[in-house]
Amino acid sequence: VKDGILRSFCVPLAISLSVVGSFALGVQVAIAGLEEDAEWIGEGVKFGGNWTLDPATNDWVDRPVGLPNSPIGYRYDVVCRVADNIDVGCMASKRSCNEAKGGRLVQWYAGLKTEDPATWDPAGESCIYSEEPVDVMDEIAGIIVREFQRRPVEAGVLTVQPSPHTLIRAHTNFYVKSREQIFDLELLGQDVRIVATPTEYTRHYGDGTSHGPASDPGAPVDTQSWGEQTATSHAYQETGDYPVSVTVHYSGEYSVNGGQLIPIDGRGEFTTGEQTISVWRSETRNVADDCNENPASWGC
């Protein structure tokens, strides 16, 4: 297996499950003991799709852009709670949450949203500092999108090739360098961490056209290839000065007091500063004299 791409296969389902599972979790090595009749063909096992549940059909679809829709749900319970009380004996063996008043240890659980939440698996513990930990977590869930969108996320750095001058009708290459960013903040008395990850890009060319959102950030090209078309290039049809920028779409996850990372149900959009591109026209003519001999010559 090379580059994490596994060719598709046509095998009985039970075998498929075991083979595929090893790749899902990042093991990129040959499979020992694969049955002789396993035939690998066609489309392949892939990683990093953008799957979302289509509400119209209730089918999962892999869309090229858009916020992925996680099939995983999360819940939490206060550790050692019996009815409305805390079992002190049970708590004796647990980590303490004494960094602030009202500390409670909660156990996270994760599983498919379509499963019975009672069957979900434990997914770590964290402290919550509130008299009513369940309420405060719900409140954070309700405001986390707004807080995410308020973070000073650096959109990224837009590079235009060539710049600041380019030629009319030649392809001008645009690419963006952006990165994952982490923000720690206090929210309703809890230490909240937000992780922002760039996922898509909308290029604004300044001539009334734009492209995106698209998942390709673009890439630099050698100077010899300037003017050639790339996946993220644009050809201006008129001369002039154009303000260009890129809006970078970030998806986010958050955790509370070091607990489970949970996807944020909404995106943040952050735009690079504008830069001006001057689009020029080039003309080529044959001339006989230099400008000293003939100052009125074309181009002098």
């Binding site: 009985p12 090595v29 040959a30 799709g49 059909t57 089918d59 996680s70």
Partner: protein
């Protein structure tokens, strides 16, 4: 894909634990049935010739894969498998 064991490679560990399998058993417009599989895998050690340890991949929290399958002539065929959440 190759048969690694033929050149002295093998794996140890990596037991799968299928935590949940969910499907609506309805055909998509592409004629496929979709199933979500939540699974975890125990630590895997990758060995090379002479017992050399190539890599140790620790157990990760359960992830979710989607499998799209067709059913023809009494046989299921997995047409596409992707990890959709880790």
């Amino acid at each position: 894909m190759k048969k690694g064991f033929a050149s002295g490679d093998w794996l140890a560990g990596g037991n799968f634990n299928i935590r949940a399998v969910e499907s609506t058993f309805t055909r998509t417009d592409r004629g496929r049935y979709q199933v979500l599989i939540r699974l975890s895998q125990r630590e895997v050690t990758s060995y090379g010739p002479g017992g050399k340890v190539y890599a140790v991949i620790e157990e990760a929290p359960p992830g979710v894969q989607i499998m799209e399958a067709t059913y023809r002539d009494g046989e299921w065929t997995a047409e596409n498998v992707e990890t959709i959440a880790e």
